[in-house]
């Protein structure tokens, strides 16, 4: 009995329209097109590699520091304080205090804590401060901007929803942001969550404006009218049809905002209002390190360089995305 050979025609059938579409120049989904343009930007790719590495380091670091007792970043080893990078642990330590491999790759601080372990823990905390703060600001910004853009014409009393929400955004924009963050953080009980929340609720305004502008433009487009004519629910129109099309500028500003949030956290730490111990963040390692800038410069330089790297990576990826999403530039590049 002969069974018809299955795969060959199927592949052909799959490949043929693909080739056709390629000839027409519409083979790529928007995401593929974005990736193709993005890949040509060498600085942005460098940033992306750095980010992936950092993310991996942060995750592995979090696991290591929380599960491997020897790597505990809070272990105090007073005989070994202020050792320069790559020094070996002194023999005065008992076996259970020995750092992994008997070495401090980044040296130790004024309490003999392993800076390498602290930096690993800090990577996770710093990144999560940035990412959670930006998620909060995205949530608020998309809600406010989306409401203003989609339901803007409805009246709420004498004012339309749009003018109400946008005037509110203007009010918030008028506050001196860093000063406000400082005031609120100084007055609130010190906690890492408060810092995330405060940074988040003081940085949503640009997102709201972007989303509103995109929604205003999208609302008039044919595919939205078509979706309405099909009788889709408003939620489905907003989240399934309009939101994906409005995401481009939001994505760019979110990436750059993560960088901002990490810098803000380090500035707050510098002023003494940052994340409190026992959490180590790069910001507070840096801020503590400045007291030892002459005796132990590595306590200052290592976290400084780390912050520079991660913020730079976020900025480069953000700018690369902005360029890749800009249709004018895309045409020029290829």
């Amino acid at each position: 009995m002969s069974v018809p050979v299955g795969p060959a025609p199927a592949i052909e059938a799959l490949a043929a329209p693909h080739a056709d579409a390629e000839a027409l120049g519409i083979a790529e989904t928007p995401a593929q097109q974005l990736w193709r343009t993005f890949r040509k930007d060498r600085l942005a790719m460098l940033g992306l590699y750095a980010l992936c590495t950092l993310l991996a380091v942060a995750l592995i670091g979090h696991l290591l520091t929380s599960w491997w007792v020897l790597f505990d970043p809070t272990t105090v080893r007073l005989p070994d304080k202020l050792l320069p990078p790559f020094s070996t642990a002194s023999s005065a330590l008992s076996a259970e205090l020995m750092p992994p491999f008997h070495a401090y790759p980044f040296g130790t601080d004024e309490l003999g804590r392993n800076v390498f372990a602290r930096m690993l823990q800090g990577a996770f905390v710093s990144l999560s401060v940035g990412i959670v703060a930006v998620s909060i600001s995205l949530g608020i910004g998309i809600t406010v901007g989306g409401l203003a853009g989609f339901y803007g014409e409805r009246k709420l009393g004498p004012l339309s929803i749009d003018s109400l929400l946008m005037r509110f955004t203007d009010v918030v924009l008028c506050f001196p942001t860093f000063f406000l963050i400082l005031t609120v953080v100084a007055l609130l009980p010190p906690s890492i969550y408060n810092i995330m929340i405060v940074i988040g609720i003081t940085s949503w305004m640009s997102t709201a404006r972007f989303v509103r502008a995109e929604f205003l433009a999208l609302r008039e487009q044919d595919f939205v009218t078509a979706a309405k004519a099909l009788g889709l629910s408003e939620g489905r129109i907003i989240f399934r049809h309009m939101m994906p099309n409005a995401m481009a500028p939001v994505l760019v500003s979110a990436t750059i905002n993560v960088a901002h949030a990490i810098l803000t956290e380090s500035a707050l730490s510098f002023l003494g209002f940052g994340v409190r111990p026992p959490y180590a963040t790069w910001g507070n390692i840096l801020a503590d390190g400045r007291s030892y800038i002459f005796d132990a410069p590595w306590l200052f330089l290592i976290p400084g360089a780390a912050i520079l790297l991660v913020v730079l990576a976020f900025n480069l990826v953000g700018e690369g995305l902005r360029d890749a999403l800009n249709p004018k530039l895309r045409k020029r590049v290829g």
């Binding site: 005037r167 000063f179 400084g304």
Partner: protein
């Protein structure tokens, strides 16, 4: 035009009132009071705390406290919780300290960014363009105080320059030239350092804006009719590229207060930012509130200023 102005000014004033109410509420509702700053002091008895709270009106409802604040501010009676000095002269004096630093920084940023950015745009893709792009991103990504500390060490070690504070101690009786030079160095280093980030940001904007304009049809037309390149770049392209920067000029104003906290702290420069920082540490509500109010007023004034400037330089814009 005049109707527009009158209407916006009224709107902005209303906005200012709303902002002052919101910031008053936020600051008073947040936990922590001036009477609690020294909570560990065993000499502070309950009746002392009550007396302090009473004299600062802290025991009254929030809306009455707001009324007190507005009344005191209007009559100039507003006193700092910390040292009992009147707030407005205090802020004014710090403002005079901040002003030279702010002006110097602004001048450095705006004179340096344009040549750098324009050159990068004209040589797009060249080694110069790529290296300035990278340096600019690096400067944007460095925490300001980290850069300042590293550079202070370097400047002090190599050039033996004085950097901390307004002037060196003990130079009050030196002759005029020494004093002036001392002040100039004390001013120059902080302004250059706080200008670095500004230059990085602004030169990127200039580059993007120039690239945008250089791609326009009228630039091609100007080239096609045989104008020399300088005329095309500076006469046709730059003039149009400058338009958005007029708006940014007005938005600089609030930087006087909030932009300077870190640098004033690093250089111990007794300006507005440092005043705000000290006030926050001491829960000095009148000073915090008034500074917030001034900052909001400056922001609103800056926006108004940039709207007007924009209408003045761009004939396509009509204010209505």
């Amino acid at each position: 035009m005049w109707r527009f102005l009158a209407r916006t000014i009224v709107q902005r004033l209303l906005l200012l009132v709303v902002i002052s109410i919101v910031s008053h509420t936020v600051i008073h509702l947040a936990p922590g009071e001036p009477s609690e700053v020294d909570a560990m002091n065993p000499m502070m008895k309950a009746e002392d705390v009550a007396r302090i709270r009473k004299s600062f009106h802290l025991d009254e409802p929030i809306y009455l406290q707001y009324v007190h604040w507005v009344k005191d501010l209007a009559t100039g009676e507003l006193k700092s919780f910390r040292d009992g000095l009147p707030v407005v002269p205090k802020i004014w004096q710090r403002f005079l300290n901040s002003l030279p630093l702010f002006l110097c920084t602004t001048v450095i940023v705006w004179t340096a960014s344009f040549p750098i950015g324009i050159h990068a745009a004209l040589k797009r893709g060249s080694r110069y363009d790529r290296s300035t792009t990278f340096v600019a991103y690096t400067l944007i990504s460095i925490p300001g105080f980290f850069l300042s500390y590293v550079l202070i060490l370097w400047v002090v070690r190599i050039f033996q320059l004085p950097v901390i504070g307004l002037a060196t101690f003990g130079t009050e009786r030196a002759n005029g030239a020494v004093r002036v030079m001392d002040r100039v160095w004390h001013l120059a280093i902080p302004s250059i350092m706080s200008a670095l980030t500004g230059i990085a940001v602004l030169s990127r904007y200039v580059r993007a804006q120039m690239l945008e304009v250089l791609g326009q049809d009228y630039v091609r037309t100007a080239r096609a009719k045989g104008l020399d390149e300088d005329h095309v770049v500076y006469g046709h392209a730059l003039r149009n590229a400058l338009l958005p920067f007029v708006t940014m000029f007005g938005l600089l104003l609030p930087g006087l207060i909030s932009g300077s906290v870190i640098f004033e702290q690093v250089f111990a420069w007794p300006g507005l930012g440092l005043l705000g920082y000290e006030a926050i540490l001491a829960r000095d509500f009148p000073v915090i509130l008034t500074l917030n109010f001034v900052a909001a007023a400056l922001t609103l004034f800056g926006i108004l200023l940039s709207d007007i400037l924009y209408a003045l330089v761009d004939p396509r814009i009509r204010l209505q």
